[in-house]
């Protein structure tokens, strides 16, 4: 029974956070193990470069450690952590944007469907194409899309996770799919 409780504690973020606050390295490693893949899906979906996405996962955990004392017990830990990861990605994208002096948002849908301007879409496989299109979605639409299609959460669960209403989740998901349809128009055929 005690072993069972200890096991449950090892996968309970609240329990791990309390230990991390006291500087427990083992608990921190456990937490990294629990969330690194989830965060990678988010960072990779947002930046679509494997190495950048991995760096951002690491940055997310560093920020988590710095901010661990601001986490309040009872708060949705997953949502809290994902928000940190999303903000780190947005900062990264802003920096990239400033470097390239070309806003991804300002690109027209016709150009967006080609993803990187210096690469021919014909060279991409279907998975890469949609992956690049997902990376171009606005942050909230993207979050809903990932949570639904990768983490397979229901609308109600996503609403809880993102602290928005189910109606908003439904609307964001619809908008995300419409936008993907536009971005992938050439590959899917028909009107954009």
């Amino acid at each position: 029974m005690e072993l069972e409780n200890a096991d449950r504690g090892q996968s309970n973020p609240e329990f791990l956070v309390a230990k991390i606050k006291n500087g427990d390295k083992e608990a921190f490693m456990r937490l990294v193990g629990l969330y690194q893949q989830k965060i990678f899906v988010l960072t990779y979906s947002m930046v679509h470069e494997r190495e950048d996405a991995l760096d951002l996962v690491q940055e997310t955990f560093l920020r988590l450690y710095e901010k661990i004392n601001t986490y309040r017990s009872g708060e949705n830990f997953n949502a809290w952590l994902m928000k940190i990861a999303r903000n780190i990605c947005l900062d990264f994208i802003r920096r990239q944007k400033a470097r390239k002096k070309e806003s991804l948002d300002q690109l027209s849908p016709e150009r967006l469907d080609l993803a990187d301007t210096d690469q021919d879409p014909a060279h991409f496989n279907p998975g890469e194409l949609i992956s690049r299109a997902v990376a171009r979605l606005p942050a909230k639409q993207q979050a809903v899309f990932i949570l639904h299609h990768y983490q397979e959460l229901k609308y109600e669960e996503i609403a809880k996770e993102l602290k928005i209403s189910t109606g908003t989740v439904k609307s964001l998901h619809y908008k995300a799919v419409r936008k993907l349809r536009k971005l992938l128009a050439r590959q899917l055929g028909g009107e954009a």
Partner: protein, 264 residues
């Protein structure tokens, strides 16, 4: 169909089975007779169909990553960075390069401030300083004397004016009864008390003439309070004579003028 807008946003939820049964049924009925919505649904299906590609692509990317190694690397990096930060923080928080100019400015400002404060406030700047009573506050002697003199002048002027009014009233009194009424009032008593207080002030500062005059007035008042309230006509006229002979009113006017012109 006109009401397609009512269904449009729900086609995705319909496809994913996220609607309640009534709404799902209503949507199915509409779909059966609306070609536009059938087209919309097919487009959505196309995109959703592609999500499988997305998932597999993501899965392939993730399969290449050594997650166990990453877990250890992240943990080590975070703790290493944290340790180096806290070591730098405790060892020399002010050694950080961007603090140095600010710190130098702060120290220089403090030193300059201390130097100028000393120059301005050092006690030697005051030619003579004095402390009054038990007070530990040192003030320039000249300043204290000027204040004392000004106070003594004001008090004396006030005393002389009120004495002058009383003497005038005594001189102008038409009957012994009026004089008696003036004498029974406590005005003389108050003036005598005031004079006692004034003595100290007049002694401390050099107002010799004023002091002499005030003494004369005091003498007169002391005589007056010894007079009987029931005064005869003769007594009244002799009182008037005393006041006139001593030329008190004239002297009061002269001293008042002197005090007013030499006011500090």
């Amino acid at each position: 169909m006109k009401n397609c807008r009512y269904y449009r946003q729900d086609w995705l939820a319909y496809l994913l089975g996220e609607l309640d049964s009534n709404r799902q049924k209503m949507m199915a009925e509409h779909l059966a007779r609306c070609q536009r919505c059938q087209k919309e649904l097919n487009e959505i299906k196309d995109v959703i169909g592609r999500t499988e590609d997305w998932r597999s692509e993501l899965g392939k990317t993730m399969a290449d990553i050594d997650w166990d190694r990453l877990q250890v690397a992240i943990t080590d990096n975070v703790f290493r960075q944290k340790e180096s930060q806290s070591a730098a923080g405790t060892a020399a928080p002010l050694k950080h390069r961007h603090w140095q100019p600010a710190l130098a400015g702060l120290v220089a400002g403090l030193l300059l401030g201390m130097f100028f404060s000393y120059l301005l406030l050092r006690p030697e700047r005051w030619p003579e300083s004095t402390s009054r009573g038990n007070s530990k506050v040192n003030l320039p002697a000249g300043f204290v004397q000027r204040v004392d003199l000004a106070l003594a002048q004001r008090e004396t002027l006030d005393y002389l004016e009120r004495s002058q009014y009383l003497l005038l009233e005594l001189l102008q009194a038409k009957s012994p009864d009026e004089v008696s009424a003036l004498l029974t009032q406590d005005r003389i008593q108050k003036l005598l008390t005031e004079k006692k207080y004034l003595n100290n002030q007049l002694e401390e500062v050099k107002l010799a003439k004023a002091k002499m005059l005030c003494d004369q007035i005091e003498m007169l008042f002391l005589e007056l309070i010894q007079l009987s309230p029931e005064m005869s006509e003769t007594e009244l006229s002799s009182l008037r004579e005393i006041i006139e002979n001593r030329q008190l009113l004239l002297k009061i006017n002269l001293v008042k003028k002197e005090l007013q012109t030499s006011e500090v």
